[in-house]
Amino acid sequence: MKISVLKEDLHGTNVLEQLQNEIISNAVVSSHIDEDMLCMHVSILLHEMFTNALRHITGSVATFDLTFEDDSFCLAMETDGDGFKLKPFNVSGPETVFLFPRDRLLLKDREITVYNDGESAVICNIEDNSTLIFRADKIGPNVIQIDEFPEHYGLSIFTQLCDSVIYRRTAKDTDIFTLKKKIR
């Protein structure tokens, strides 16, 4: 299932519902997959993906490509943005926001913590010159001060709810953000 949506149509489109229905109809409920929980998590994931598209794409179109492989769904969102904005955790100032892959030489560490709420962190692994792989790491519970608490949760939600979260910059200068999650 492949659908392209104009940026101005992302609000109010029924594409989100179409994708959700397609995912749920391909899911197999079992002892380790609760249907209500799965519906809620898929709804949250799709909403966050649409929100990310609205926030970050610089072009006019987002293309959603939903496929199924073995026991998982794979949802890829392709946009014509500038790259992926990476902000290392606990470093303040606008100059600490890196644009991948443009600033990849400035990103000296291969693994960068991009989120930390005292209980879990999101680690960004720079896989190669065009690929970022994100994962959730359990780190706590640690005490975190309210004024240090994060205010952006997209990557944390994606990595908690999905089995794989990958960003890739293509040779034709488009951004592809891919989520994979077990549904069987």
């Binding site: 609000h11 809620m40 709804s43 949250i44 909403h47 966050e48 929100t51 609205l54 926030r55 709420d117 005292g118 209980e119 879990s120 975190i144 309210i146 004024d147 608490f149 994060p150 205010e151 952006h152 949760y153 997209g154 944390s156 939600i157 908690q160 709810l161």
Partner: protein
């Protein structure tokens, strides 16, 4: 963004009067709450989610920004009436670690 604002004792109660609280509402919500905190010199606030059945992470971010402001004035925000999907968002974003959550309005008011 539809908000109903009332006062009980010295506690300001903000009821979100819509089913969805998302990125579209987050900026306006934050501005209204920060304005209430600053102009009213408020330190005791309850945000009532009883009528909300979906909130996204951008709205959660606005809620945290409001908490940061009120705690800098030595105040606190408590939350009330979380439905299952909202509770799930509080768990995914770990907001339960920094907000006290209540099911009953009077208990929330009395907690200050």
């Amino acid at each position: 963004m539809l908000l109903e604002i009332s006062k009980e004792n010295e506690v300001t109660i903000v009821v979100i009067k819509q089913k969805r609280a998302t990125m579209e509402d987050a900026k306006e919500f934050k501005e209204k709450i920060l304005d209430l905190i600053e102009t009213g010199k408020l330190t005791k606030m309850i945000i009532d989610f009883s009528e909300v059945n979906f909130a996204d992470s951008t709205f959660m971010g606005a809620l945290v920004a409001s908490l940061k402001r009120i705690t800098s004035n030595k105040g606190d925000i408590k939350v009330l009436g979380l439905s299952q999907p909202i509770r799930a968002m509080f768990e995914l974003t770990r907001l339960y670690k920094i907000f006290e959550i209540f099911d009953n309005r009077q208990d929330a008011v009395n907690s200050f």
